[in-house]
């Protein structure tokens, strides 16, 4: 197990390095001089030169890169051009909303997707199965922002059951009722992925249910529920875990638009605002953090395989 973890750990480091490099390269592609961009149109050449000097922009690109790596490792992403505050602090302020939203959406993904998939696999081609196939196909083709806006029209506009937009911090106010504002965003964000998880659960369960040990378990006279949950589900869980870990990227992508739709003060809406204002340091910081999270989640997924299926450790 230790060698397995170590080997994956090296992969993790390599990927993080590459992700950092890509972020650096992309930011080098910005047209014009970053110092001039930072100081705006009214800056004098002297001011620009001073800033270039202090940022080390006059040094060779490799020196800049090493410096940049060092800064990133220490969590120093520079200052926002617009807010004139450290990027990490700005992202930190926005993180709470996004974490709540992500957790709630994941709950929708797992809570809807897995039961639906298991149900569909018990009676393949039955009513539940076909209905789910339809929803999954449709779900994969619907943009989440559109679903969000439609849900908002219905539940916030017509019925007035839920708030249509905004979110107030729970950590600051201690008011858990604020979570109500996240119901619609979490559903519109999670629904599409729930459909995907349901499809994977179904096909993985169908594969496993044909195995001999399932027949044996049934022949032993075990109850149907025990066979499904204990014998089939655990063995079917690897593809399901994989697809749930994939949903991270899709949840992040979805969160960018969902947060904008519901005017949530999260990291997703922050990157959109930063793109509109060309606030490059913030864009760079968010890109880096999201990509590193992705790499770490992949790593954790790999480790979970080893826990779910002991055979994988020895490969």
């Amino acid at each position: 197990m230790l060698t397995f973890v170590l080997r994956r750990g090296v992969g993790l480091l390599v990927s993080t390095f590459l992700v950092t490099t890509i972020t650096f390269v992309l930011m080098q592609m910005i047209p014009g001089d970053p110092a001039a961009v930072m100081l705006g149109a009214n800056a004098t050449p002297e001011q620009i030169e001073i800033l270039r000097e202090s940022w080390g922009l006059n040094q060779p690109i490799l020196v800049q890169f090493v410096r940049y790596l060092g800064n990133f490792l220490r969590g120093n992403f520079g200052d926002s051009l617009f807010h004139r505050k450290p990027v990490l602090g700005i992202i930190g302020q926005r993180a709470e909303t996004s974490i709540w939203l992500g957790a709630a959406a994941l709950l929708v993904v797992v809570g809807l997707g897995i039961p639906a998939g298991v149900l569909a696999s018990i009676r393949p081609n039955g009513l539940t199965d076909n209905a789910m196939l339809l929803v999954a196909l449709g779900g994969a083709s619907i943009p989440s922002f559109w679903l969000g806006l439609m849900l908002m029209t219905l539940f916030a506009g017509r019925l007035g059951w839920l708030p249509s937009s905004g979110f107030t911090s729970i950590l600051e106010t201690g008011n858990l009722a604020n979570l109500k504002s996240l119901v619609l965003p979490a559903f519109s964000l999670g629904f599409v992925n729930a459909a995907l998880v349901a499809r994977t659960t179904r096909s993985s369960m169908l594969d496993v249910l044909q195995a001999d040990y399932i027949t044996t378990a049934r022949a032993k006279g075990l109850r149907g529920r025990v066979v499904i949950m204990k014998h089939a589900f655990r063995n079917a869980s690897i593809p399901i875990v994989t697809v749930i870990s994939f949903t991270f990227a899709s949840l992040v992508s979805g969160a960018v638009v969902t947060e904008t739709v519901f005017a949530l003060p999260g990291v997703g809406s922050l990157i959109v605002q930063s793109v509109l204002k060309r606030d490059y340091p913030v864009i760079q910081g968010i890109m880096f953090i999201v990509a590193v999270l992705y790499v770490v989640i992949n790593f954790a997924t790999d480790l979970s395989y080893a826990l779910l299926d002991p055979r994988i450790r020895y490969r």
């Binding site: 196909l137 449709g138 619907i142 943009p143 806006l149 904008t260 864009i283």
Partner: protein, 300 residues
Amino acid sequence: MSKRVERMRTEASGRPGRIRSLMSGLWRFATRRRTTGLALLILGGLLFIAATGPFIAPYDADELRMTDRLQGPNRTHLLGTDHFGRDILSRALSGTRITLLLGVSISAFALCVGLPIGMLAGFFDRFGLIVMRVVDALMAFPAIILALALMAILGKPGIANVILAVGLVWAPRMVRVVYSATLTLRESVFVEAARALGVKTSRILLRHIAINLISPVIVQATFTFAFSIMEVAALNFLGVGIPPYVASWGGMMNEGRTYVIRAPWIILFPGLFLATAVLSFNLVGDALRDRLDPKLRRIM
């Protein structure tokens, strides 16, 4: 010389037969599953709309009629009007062309970048090792985040920049598919035979590998199309895609956001157009994958 002429003759005479067999193959493909036929029909319809949009639209897509603003669907405006009194149906029809155009361009871009790189990476181990690491790292950035960053870097909103930004997001995914397919092809008997016969590497790549990559590449291009038009709509919705004065589905939904509770049709209908287009491309992609190469299910 005479042999060549003879071959040309047989080829020429074989052509009508080949077209006929192609057509009957297409017919069988379309009718094997009801959904595939339906999806192809919808795609045909969209192509027709893209070609004839301005001519069949009841109104000028950009004409402002403030007296007609925010009307719900009715007889004069079948899908209603927006806050400037522009006809939603006409705008949605006009947005079809730009959507298909962007989808085709982005898929073509992803293909032109992904096919050669993926093929070389699959064929030459060392090159592959480096390239695939970079591809994996690029894929660590969620699609919309990378597209947004690229739009910020490229500067102004515009059609060419959207193609480049979204194309660069999907190219690594194309590389991945081509790479895995090449790895399998490389070990196949016919490549081994060609090698044993002393065929040059460049010829093996072009005549033996590239030809056999056509199926997976077509299938992946179909999916790229579906995903990319959704992503373009998201960029337009966020206001960083193509300029707002060009009627696009995502742009229409962006403009309608403020009025969503009062006039949901501004958003409902462009979204339905988009969902229908994406769904039919996904269905055709699925059907193509099953028809051309069932083994692809594993890598796609």
